[in-house]
């Protein structure tokens, strides 16, 4: 087995026992990438030099007795919408091609000070808008389980890299499901924290009231470790939660006994692949056999979450993306006047999905429509938040499939924006409500494609969410790896 296939916990043990160095780990993931990148295209940038320096420094420090914690010396992949000082950050957009940020995102500086090694920047749907990583100006990422299929999105590059072993762990951002849905489609764990637990400072903003950074990992324990390294209040993000990060380790291994599990009836039925539903039922039965209490619950506002999301997210995006105007960074297309320069730059620099959402958001925020669209969607959001809070008086966690389907073929939904948007139907409610949610792989369908189960919890309910996720993981016994990961052995 290659070092590229170790979990973060296993790699940490080997680093501390002297069986492997950080440089060994980095070389293993880069060797893996050299086999898989031509086919999968997980990375937009691999920082050979910077990563090597960080790995050497991690080894030197560890030898000298300085241990920065569980991510010390661990090679990680970061979505290319995190600002990294001195390292290109493009958001998969022509408008930012070649942009080198003058500062690090808070998440990046916390990872650096935790000793992590940043292998490179991963592909995404342009500005994180999409569910397949096909909306990248630099070409799509492919699914390691079947390169004819999408890895999901928008954090498809990080998900695929973690699945195939071109990083031991990774980070993405989730606005409507962009961590969990690709995790599900790539057979890895993906976690979106409670809104505000991870700083958004230096994350290129898409929809500020929804965006949240979170980890992608090979197992639940690694996801927790990655999250702990970056969580906590940041004065540079005024929406950051000022209270303590929940304590999540003490009950992690407590098992499912006594957990009240709400099965969301709105997230089932038509449009859900039978094998996805079966995999979920099978897991729920196993949890019930071991003492979890299953409760069928109804959250009627979930039916409107997708509509609500497609009013709120594009509205906020249209405001956030106003900053890309050819003045301070990125692309400029010349014009006679400043307005002509801006309009030409933006038309040239943004791809079709981003343009579509900017237009949609501009329309729904424009005079005469604001209250009917954005205002109404945010009142509905309050209704959804209250509905979820009320249901959590009866149940500890909510479960659903992460995605109604397994990975679909490239091109299958690119001509039909609504069909693409529907792939986020299960993940959007937790973004709107700001609640934590995690996707855990529970099996493969008959085509050998991964199926994910989503566990949602109340705001700041990460402890019971992780405990449930761990119980799911233990019962699923999901150890399969994509065949591609085995190529170099």
């Amino acid at each position: 087995m290659s070092l590229a296939d170790l979990t973060i916990a296993e790699a940490g043990t080997q680093l501390r026992s002297g069986d492997a160095t950080s440089v060994d780990l980095l070389e293993a993931v880069i060797e893996r990438a050299s086999f898989t990148e031509a086919q999968l295209h997980c990375y937009l940038t691999i920082d050979h030099e910077g990563a090597r320096k960080a790995a050497e420094s991690a080894d030197w420090e560890l030898a000298a007795g300085t241990d920065r914690g569980p991510l010390h010396g661990i090679p990680l992949a970061l979505k290319d919408n995190f600002c990294t000082r001195g390292l290109t950050t493009t958001c998969s957009s022509q408008i930012l091609a070649g942009y080198v940020p003058p500062y690090d995102a808070t998440v990046v500086s916390r990872l650096r000070s935790g000793g992590a090694v940043i292998v490179g920047k991963t592909n995404l749907d342009e500005f994180a808008m999409g569910s397949s990583t096909e909306n990248s100006a630099f070409g799509p990422t492919r699914n390691p389980w079947d390169p004819e299929r999408v890895p999901g999105g928008s954090s498809g590059g990080s998900a695929a890299a973690v699945a195939v072993g071109s990083a031991l762990g990774g980070f993405g951002s989730d606005t409507g499901g962009s961590i969990r849905q690709p995790a599900s489609l790539c057979g890895v764990v993906g976690f979106k924290p409670t809104y505000g637990l991870v700083s958004r400072y230096g994350l290129v903003a898409f929809a500020s009231s929804l965006d949240q950074i979170g980890p992608l990992a090979r197992n639940v324990g690694d996801a927790l470790t990655l999250f702990e390294a970056v969580a906590g209040h940041d004065p540079l993000d005024s929406t950051s939660y000022p209270g303590p990060v929940p304590e999540m380790r003490s009950d992690l291994e407590a098992g499912p006994k006594g957990i009240r599990v709400g099965v969301v009836s709105e997230l089932s039925g038509d449009g859900y692949e039978p094998e996805v539903s079966t995999a979920m039922s099978k897991m729920l039965n196993q949890l019930a056999d071991d003492g979890a209490e299953l409760v069928e619950v109804s959250l009627p506002t979930f039916e409107l979450a997708l509509s609500c999301y497609y009013l709120i997210a594009p509205a906020e995006a249209s405001a956030n993306l106003a900053r890309f105007d050819g003045v301070r960074y990125g692309l400029r297309v010349d014009g006679e006047t400043v307005e002509e320069m801006m309009a030409r730059t933006r038309a040239e620099g943004f791809g079709p999905e981003v343009t579509r959402r900017i237009l949609l958001g501009t329309y729904s925020l424009s005079a005469g429509y604001y209250d009917a669209f954005y205002g109404q969607a945010n009142r509905l959001r309050t209704k959804l938040i209250r509905e979820i809070a009320a249901i959590h008086e009866q149940v500890d966690v909510l479960v659903s499939p992460t995605s109604p389907t397994v990975a679909f073929e490239l091109g299958a939904k690119t001509q039909d924006p609504l069909a693409m948007y529907l792939s986020d139907v299960c993940t959007i409610p937790a973004d709107l409500a700001g609640t934590p949610a995690i996707s855990v792989p529970v099996g493969l369908d008959h085509q050998g494609l991964p199926i994910g189960l989503q566990v949602m919890a109340p705001a700041l309910g990460e402890a019971v969410m992780f405990r449930t996720a761990k119980a799911v993981e233990e019962r699923a016994g999901f150890t399969a790896r994509p065949a591609l990961a085995g190529l170099p052995t």
């Binding site: 942009y99 003058p102 500062y103 409670t194 809104y195 505000g196 009231s209 005024s238 929406t239 939660y241 000022p242 409107l304 997708l306 509509s307 609500c308 497609y310 009013l311 050819g326 003045v327 301070r328 960074y329 990125g330 692309l331 400029r332 014009g335 006679e336 006047t337 400043v338 002509e340 320069m341 801006m342 309009a343 933006r346 038309a347 343009t355 579509r356 237009l359 949609l360 501009t362 329309y363 729904s364 424009s366 669209f373 205002g375 109404q376 969607a377 009142r379 509905l380 959001r381 309050t382 209704k383 938040i385 924006p417 609504l418 948007y421 709107l432 409500a433 700001g434 609640t435 700041l460």
Partner: protein, 96 residues
């Protein structure tokens, strides 16, 4: 009843110089999406305040302290055009 969108006006507001073909295509796509999204208008939300922050955080203050700014040269190195420590743009007013 399909939603009528003055797409030329919206594109102007968004500072997007789109071709007539693009405008047509986006107009019909937006109509479809809004038709779906407009379902929210049928819901009674009387008495509900709009969500601003999911956890209900309100105003946040910080001490008014001087902190080192970003390095000016590093920032301007990313600008498409800069001169004498400033960003440079084409004329904003006609005849200037």
């Amino acid at each position: 009843m399909p939603i009528e969108i003055d797409i030329t006006h919206v594109a102007r507001l968004a500072r997007l110089a789109l071709t007539p073909d693009e405008l047509d295509r986006y107009r019909s796509q937006l109509a479809l999406i809004l038709d779906h999204a407009a379902r929210v208008q049928a819901i009674n939300t009387t008495g509900l305040a709009p969500t601003a922050h999911p956890l209900g955080l309100t105003n946040v203050f910080r001490p008014d302290e001087v902190r080192p700014p970003l390095d000016v040269d590093e920032v301007l190195s990313q600008a498409p055009s800069a001169r004498d420590g400033y960003f440079e743009v084409p004329p904003a007013l006609e005849g200037v």
